[in-house]
Symmetry: C2
Subunit: 358 residues, 2 copies
Amino acid sequence: MKKLTIKEIAQLANVSEGTVDRVIHNRSGVSERTRQKIQQIIDRHEFSLNPIASALASSRQYTIGVLIPRKDIRSDYWEMPYRGIEAGWARIKDFGFSVRYFLYDQFDEASFDTCFDQLVEAAPDGVILAPIFAREAAQKIPLLEERQIPYLFMDTQLVGFESISFVGQDSFEGGVVAARLMQLFLSEKGKSVILQTRQNISNHDAIFKRIGGYQSFFATNYPQNEVLTLFVADTAAIPEMQSQIRAFLEAHPAVEGVFVPSSRISTFSGFFPNRIALIGFDTTTSNINALERGEIKFLISQKSFDQGFQAVLLLFDYLLYKKIPRRQYFSDIEIVLKENIKYTSFANNNSKIFPDFK
Amino acid sequence: MKKLTIKEIAQLANVSEGTVDRVIHNRSGVSERTRQKIQQIIDRHEFSLNPIASALASSRQYTIGVLIPRKDIRSDYWEMPYRGIEAGWARIKDFGFSVRYFLYDQFDEASFDTCFDQLVEAAPDGVILAPIFAREAAQKIPLLEERQIPYLFMDTQLVGFESISFVGQDSFEGGVVAARLMQLFLSEKGKSVILQTRQNISNHDAIFKRIGGYQSFFATNYPQNEVLTLFVADTAAIPEMQSQIRAFLEAHPAVEGVFVPSSRISTFSGFFPNRIALIGFDTTTSNINALERGEIKFLISQKSFDQGFQAVLLLFDYLLYKKIPRRQYFSDIEIVLKENIKYTSFANNNSKIFPDFK
DNA sequence: CTGAAAGCGCTTACAG
DNA sequence: CTGAAAGCGCTTACAG
């Protein structure tokens, strides 16, 4: 069936193009009778707008506000979602979309509040946000809902909000995968330890769930492999960290593996003897280096570039085509080791999805 | 700097819009003097075409020809690249792009030839092809080059051709990753075996390279872990395969792992005792089932959905924006196990990149 | 070699 | 409540 134009629909209905336009966009000022007549013809012919022509004619501008942490000296994790967003934007900018960033400090709740206010002030048409501070986010999000600004969670999913979707990893299952891999390195009754930092290093919720997944895997499948916990402040002086770890290992000689549920594994990986298997999260630059030095067995990657890319496209489809996204989009739980890192990091850094992104 | 329109460029140059258009598109019929004047203004203002308006005005139609194997009863591998292509197409169809498929039988060289001829006959504007039959492809590809039809290799890379790019996995490194994972299951002097089928099961080149990567890893890093080879016809009767395998294991009691470099691992996985670790390629439905039954330790995925998606976008950018792609885009070497399969297969099947693809 | 005009399929004021 | 006209930023004949 040939695709009809508005003009043709108008002719079939004996009305003007303007009236058809009103019906299509649910604008007021059309008699019920006319509306129905036109709607019928639209339905019968499965008419749909040509988004190209629509974008050109309306010259409507859309702004997407992005509220995520900025890249930090201690972790360049947030570089990747940022790049993914940029790559996604490059694919939609011709439709009049622009992106405004509000980058907060992932170690500073107050900066989240400030950036959020600026975001609201800017009155974007849609928002992508990583609400890593659950409490602050819960306070601020109503500002978006009042203004009817659609928003989409990335990285961290908060429950009880009317976000149009969530893009990120299933953290619990990420912990399960880490445990499954760790188990490969444990002897019959070998123990592993979850290394936690005392510091508030962003994203509590994800870390909490990863730990849950890890423990649950062992409790269910390998209860004989005990799981211990060790707290080390990642802000401590190096000798202090070292001696803490040494003391722990002496006290627990059966420990054969260390699981770091945050992205901070490279801070500690040099302090462990080779016989101990290390598994951690996130392909930050320093983690990749530690992996390549052989200090780490596996990293689990969030594919955060893809998350950013996808979040933008979902919001684009929502705003432009009124396409309702699914409630959540879980990104791959990618297992990274020395031998395949160059392909994943390549993918992230050089953006295979949107090639030649600068 | 505000983005100028053709009209404004024309005014600055004291010419008509049509003339500016001719310069932009390198059309003939413009005096050198005028061309230079206009080009200067274009450069100075960093003018670039509005692709939306361009697509609308020209109502130029592009056809992408796709030459890949069709889904087969024995392996649904090619379902995924197909879906990726469909998802990519959905993102570009508004620009006047359509896709025509020429699906050949991956077990029948002659069907490749026939489909290739039909493809050429259809005179597409660009081509995505998986040249799994190297010899036939080498004979047919000149037909595209004669007609100056740009083409892009997917899945299999042939050398010595002027393809605009390649999207696929680095098969050698895929084999290396398989070996690295296998090594985790081997004891000090444990042996592993490469299980090859005699049958021509598509994609020889990839399988050959995977075997090379696998062997090279062990030869370099773990020479004490011997690598054997076993041939089993995957078309044989089940009892025959079983007895062949049983005899082999009896003759080689030190075998602790089996590597299947093709996508056919699920054909054999039920015949091995649990103590033997199996590692194979490709997340076909039957392989996923075997993984979930616990018969297989790891699968290595090609992310073939993504390959199709990306191939389409690369060709789109090439045809519409004249953007030259890189020579090759290696897709992720994804490690899949029971615990993360639902996220990767979810990604593939439900298309997280292009959400809600039917 | 160059320009003026019509048109791509919509949207946006404006008039009635 | 409805229509006629102009315009979005290009491209395409056609005329000269």
